[in-house]
């Protein structure tokens, strides 16, 4: 925009009578221009204690917009405070009308929120209480989800079978490209990292064992879990959150249809089914990446690599990975759906729900992976 030259705002005070104050305004009173501080007006009012009325002279006023009005509203507030009459006659006609309009509807008492800065201790307390409440809500949601699964098993849960197919399509096959890319790279990295050490002993063939075990036991499940948390967990939270904003969830409730059964159950089922399958696929891709590195860079023969992989991998290793994957699937589904269902009624709340779904599921996943690794280790698997 073209920057016009503006004449500075000027304000001058005079007292035509003992109980009257005349405010002379001059210049361009437009937003962006420097207005004189409102304190000047207040000071003048305080100096003349016998003041009953203030009025305006705007003959030298060149231009005005909302900036001028906000200034006048502040003046009006001061006037009410000191019980002085504000005479609007000297103001331009448009300004007078807008001022009148802005006072037509009195401010709702109690509607304006007071923002009080609380002491640190109080805030810590509030946070702690929030945490307790949030944990309670989480347990409540898990309990509800459990009950819905019980209803599913007893054949009483109501949902549309076609929804499951659609959601499976969304969170399974459509995730293949990203899962392929990530697990291939992870396999590649594992192979290289291992090769650096193993080559020193001339034992590079054990790269096959390392990659195979690494992918099957942990990395396949972990990587798939994290991808699905970012991809599907977030999308569940956003979908359900938007439904909450649109009152769709309320509409289901009033139709007597439980949103837990109709919306959450198919999503959880689809995810719990797809994460293990994707994990198996990720294992395979990772192992292929290792094979690629082994054959092309480390001079291991194809058959040699294959043989070493088969020897070191048993079904148990895959089972360990799959158990983890299933647990991750449950956790992501719970986190995503829970944050979506808890969502508030605004666009920003949906954003928060999505972020919080991803954060929650990744925390869940990493903690669960740690616990499960220790458990499997203790069990000697």
């Amino acid at each position: 925009m073209l920057k016009k030259t503006v004449t500075p705002c000027k304000i001058a005070f005079s007292t035509p009578a003992a109980d009257k104050l005349l405010i002379n305004v001059a210049g361009d009173w437009v937003i962006g221009n420097d207005f004189p501080p409102i304190g000047d007006v207040q000071k003048n009012l305080e100096q003349h204690s016998s003041l009953r009325q203030i009025s305006f002279n705007t003959e030298e006023l060149l231009a005005w917009d909302s900036g001028f009005l906000t200034f006048l509203i502040k003046v009006r507030d001061i006037c009410t405070q000191y019980e002085i009459e504000m005479n609007k006659e000297g103001l331009p006609e448009g300004v007078q009308r807008l001022l009148t309009l802005s006072s037509a509807v009195p401010e709702r008492k109690g509607a304006r929120r007071e923002t009080v800065r609380e002491p640190v201790l109080a805030r810590i307390g509030v946070k702690a209480l929030d945490f307790v409440r949030a944990s309670g809500e989480m347990l409540g949601f898990i309990g509800e989800a459990f009950l819905v699964f019980v209803r599913l098993l007893s054949g009483k849960a109501r949902f549309r079978r076609s929804d499951i197919a659609l959601i499976i399509q969304e969170c399974g096959p459509q995730a293949l490209p990203i899962v392929t890319l990530i697990s291939f790279l992870v396999g590649l990295i594992l192979a290289y990292m291992g090769a650096v050490q193993l080559q020193m002993f001339g034992a590079q063939v054990y790269v096959a064992s390392l990659v195979g075990l690494g992918m099957a036991r942990v990395m396949g499940a972990l990587m798939t879990g994290i991808i699905m948390a970012g991809r599907t967990g977030a999308s569940f939270a956003a979908q359900l959150g938007t439904m909450q904003v649109n009152e769709e969830i309320d509409a289901y409730r009033t139709l007597g249809i439980s949103p837990m059964e109709f919306l959450v159950l198919p999503r959880m089922l689809a995810l719990i089914l797809m994460v293990p399958l994707l994990t198996l696929y990720a294992d395979l891709v990772g192992i292929l990446a290792g094979l690629f590195v082994g054959v092309t860079m480390l001079d291991i023969g194809f058959m040699e690599y294959y043989h070493q992989t088969v020897v070191s991998l048993t079904l148990t290793q895959f089972a360990v990975g799959l158990i983890q994957a299933t647990v991750f699937g449950v956790l992501i589904a719970i986190a995503g759906c829970m944050r979506g269902m808890q969502c508030g009624r605004s666009a920003s709340a949906v954003g928060e729900a999505t972020t919080s779904a991803v954060v929650t599921s990744i925390v869940f996943i990493v903690v669960a992976a740690g616990v499960l690794t220790i458990v499997f280790n203790q069990l000697g698997i």
């Binding site: 509409a251 139709l255 249809i257």
Partner: protein, 268 residues
């Protein structure tokens, strides 16, 4: 005389609110609401923007428990009933939300068909017939296969109306049904509401700001005031216009032409 009217209201009351207080957390929206809606009434909930009309509706349809007080349907206390009993009562409700609240993953036809598929034994073909009929009532014939995001705001409102009427419910709750409609459609909607009442004997609870339709269809009402946070008037809107002495009510019912000066005096 007032006593007899109230007695009469109590007698065939379909919905009764007793000392109903509504709050979000500690923030009270409205307190001590007492009114009853007779069978076959077209009951208007009115009041300025943000005074708690939608909130009151949420309490009546069982979405939000009152902070205090009771809601009765046919003299059965809703919030003291078992969950199954509540579900059964809710099945008699048809609700149009202020935002339409269509299920975004379903087509218009599937939206209207959902309750039919859940609660009736109709065959898919029969359901389709009912759906087409309901859609034609709201002027949406031919839009069966559209998704909610593919139709306009006013059309979403009308589709929501069709869904609310799908089961021929005993009580219809409409939150601003005519907002976003052109004057002619709004007028047709009024006729439709009257027709639903007359032919199906439905009780209709409507939140609306449209003065024309308040007087055209309403025969009972409650007026919520955001400042005193309670109801300041109730009864037949036409009688309120003629008899109410309250400047706020007069102001509202005459679009600010009457009662405004009185309100100014009250404030100053």
């Amino acid at each position: 005389m007032t006593a007899t009217i109230e007695e009469e209201q109590e007698r065939d009351a379909h919905i009764t609110a007793r000392d109903l207080t509504m709050a979000y957390g500690d923030f009270v929206i409205q307190r001590d609401l007492n009114f009853s809606v007779r069978r076959g009434d077209i009951f208007i909930i009115m009041g300025g923007s943000g005074c708690g009309k939608s909130t009151l509706l949420r309490h009546l349809i069982g979405l939000k428990a009152p902070a205090r007080g009771e809601v009765f349907f046919n003299e059965v206390n809703f919030w003291k009933s078992e969950t199954e009993e509540q579900e059964r009562m809710k099945r008699n409700f048809g609700v149009l939300f202020q935002s339409g609240a269509l299920f975004s993953s379903l087509t218009i036809a599937e939206n209207v068909a959902l309750p039919l598929g859940e609660y009736t034994d109709l065959s898919p073909a029969q359901i389709l017939e009912v759906v087409s009929y309901k859609l034609s009532l709201v002027g949406l014939a031919g839009f069966e296969e559209f998704y909610p995001s593919e139709i306009s705001g006013g059309m979403q409102k009308r589709a929501g109306l069709a869904r609310a009427m799908a089961m021929d419910p005993e009580i219809l709750f409409f939150d601003e049904p005519s907002a976003g409609l052109d004057p002619v459609s709004a007028r047709l909607l009024d006729d439709l509401i009257l027709e639903l009442r007359d032919s199906l004997g439905a009780t209709v609870v409507v939140v609306t700001h449209e003065l024309a339709s308040i007087f055209a269809i309403g025969n009972n009402s409650v007026f919520l005031d955001p400042e005193t946070k309670t109801m300041i008037a109730g009864g037949d809107p036409k009688r309120l216009l003629a008899e109410s002495r309250d400047p706020k009510v007069q102001n509202f019912l005459t679009r600010g032409e009457k009662g405004e000066s009185d309100i100014k005096e009250n404030n100053e």
